[in-house]
Symmetry: C2
Subunit: 330 residues, 2 copies
């Protein structure tokens, strides 16, 4: 049977002060490697049941992970981060969230900071495909980002099917000329949604028209202005809109309402993400399972950390999506 | 004039390997205190213009701060965190965001983790008044939280005036019997808003009735159910509602609409926070200057960090609020 040593007892056995023992066990302040070694030997010898910190000193695990997120004020991202947090908490892992503001410079800085602080692994949420390699070769999982590197686990929704489902819904409800409002950047997620849109049109014998593609900055205001502009220019010949984010869909809805165009009578509308904006404004949307995305990313990352593996064979975890039909596509 | 030494030159001058110099300057891997001292002496002697990491080693500053937030999926909190981040970035500080999920246990764990990782200071966002003291006596700033401790800088909106403005708006527009929907917890912010409500009623010769106070869990669904329950119980005798959060206000709005009660004709409504829910549903709301709250908190914290002061005379920074009138109180 082991007995829990007190800090004082460890101090007596090693011949250093209690203050120094405390510093080493709590990993604060200054002490030499020799002192640390001496203390940990005693701790081992007497089967001292270590707290998380002492354990971390020995295993070089800090039981913390970092999450780099482009915009925490975006509900979709915030929900995923929450799910990561919910999974990690009970496993004894803390999550440091870093908001990169979609700036690569900030991302580089945070990556550096997180490495210096000794996190055990990283989750990248969205952003560019260019992935910054860490110096210590930390375990990494990406959500909605497909890096050039070959050894990363990727979690994404089935965006292709999502675009297909959204567009098919509009076609089934009678739309013949369907706009797509999409993020202007060629991110993995957007490109796939756009491909799903094209596939649905083609399968149903509808023409894929370049002028029906709006490349936009994502945001409510941007969506609103884009539709206003079309209508003012006399180009109101569409009867359906697929927006690749709920923010764009809601912006379109506001513009149509202001112009006296009725949704769904005159124009039907489907968004993507299924966040509050869609739910509380009766806008149909493709649901992404944010909870499962966060959970799977965290689960895979912790498995890599715990097994001491920092690289994996690249594999993609593709999570099913579902269309949630509401008033805007009735 | 100083010349920037290379890692190789530092290695030659100290007699250790370049790899070790790099480890010390980047604070990664293992090395003895003696080696570190030797390297830093050279760095000092030759006026090596240090990068952030080397500087942090000497000053014990890591140029990182931690922010503990109860719920990152809450837009109000997310906006404040973003403002903190926006202020800190250009000052060379990184921000680690930790989501406590309103659980004290998690808060304790994060506090410990952030201390171990060596952040230079902390911002607490909302939560209970019980404040956990840090071991290293780190500089702390609180937003919307008033701890028992006497030496903390606090940033809050003028919640008293906010409650007063919201209730006065309803009275001016003709309401005689005004409900207050409030967070059931006695947080500083809620209590002040409630006091403002009472003051406005009293000043206008209206009775303050205990049965007009709804103590609720905050959330859209909870707000909706509370109003539904009142109406179903035949207690629909109110003509105005002041909700202490926009979520509660929006819930009330949904319940009223479903019951065929018109806003603002039958019941007028004012919320608090002025987040998207209010903006996009034409609900009047008391605006909190989230940008300024985050900025002032960060500014004060960095000033403490930079000046090496970890305690201050307690002072409260109270930020003005403004009523934003919309359709719900016309």
């Amino acid at each position: 049977m082991s007995k829990r040593l007190t800090i004082k007892e460890i101090a007596e056995l090693t011949g250093v002060s209690s203050a120094t023992v405390s510093k080493v066990l709590n990993n604060t302040g200054r002490y030499s490697e020799e002192t640390k070694k001496k203390i940990l030997e005693i701790v081992d010898k007497y089967d001292y049941r270590p707290n998380a910190v002492a354990k971390s000193l020995r295993t070089n695990k800090s039981k913390t992970i970092g999450v780099i997120v482009p915009d925490i004020t975006n509900e979709f991202f915030a929900q995923i981060v929450l799910a990561i947090e919910k999974y990690c908490g009970p496993q004894g892992y803390s999550v440091f969230i870093c908001n990169s503001d979609e700036q690569e410079e900030k991302e580089i800085q945070y990556l550096k900071d997180l490495e210096i602080k000794g996190v055990d692994g990283l989750i990248y949420l969205a952003g560019s495909n260019h992935l910054l390699q860490t110096r210590r070769n930390l375990p990494i999982v990406c959500i909605d980002r497909k890096p050039d590197l070959s050894n990363i686990t990727i979690v994404t929704s089935d965006n292709l099917n999502g675009g297909y489902l959204a567009t098919s819904e509009l076609i089934q409800k009678g739309c013949k000329n369907i706009l797509i409002m999409r993020d202007h950047r060629d991110f993995l997620t957007t490109v796939e949604r756009h491909n799903g849109y094209k596939r649905a049109l083609t399968e149903n014998g509808l023409e894929v028209k370049e002028e029906n593609v709006l490349h936009l900055e994502v945001g409510i205001e941007q969506g609103k202005q884009a539709i206003e502009k079309l209508i003012r220019a006399g180009q109101f010949d569409f009867d359906g809109i697929f927006a690749t984010t709920d923010g764009l869909a809601y912006g379109a809805y506001l513009a149509l309402r202001e112009q006296g165009i009725e949704v769904p009578q005159d124009v039907k509308l489907v968004g993507f993400d299924n966040v509050s904006l869609a739910k509380y404004n009766s806008i149909s949307s493709v649901n992404q399972d944010k909870e499962l995305m966060g959970q799977l990313a965290a689960e895979n990352l912790l498995a890599m950390i715990e097994s001491g593996v920092s690289t994996t064979i690249q594999h993609s975890l593709t999570i099913p999506v579902a269309l949630v039909s509401r008033g805007s596509s009735e």
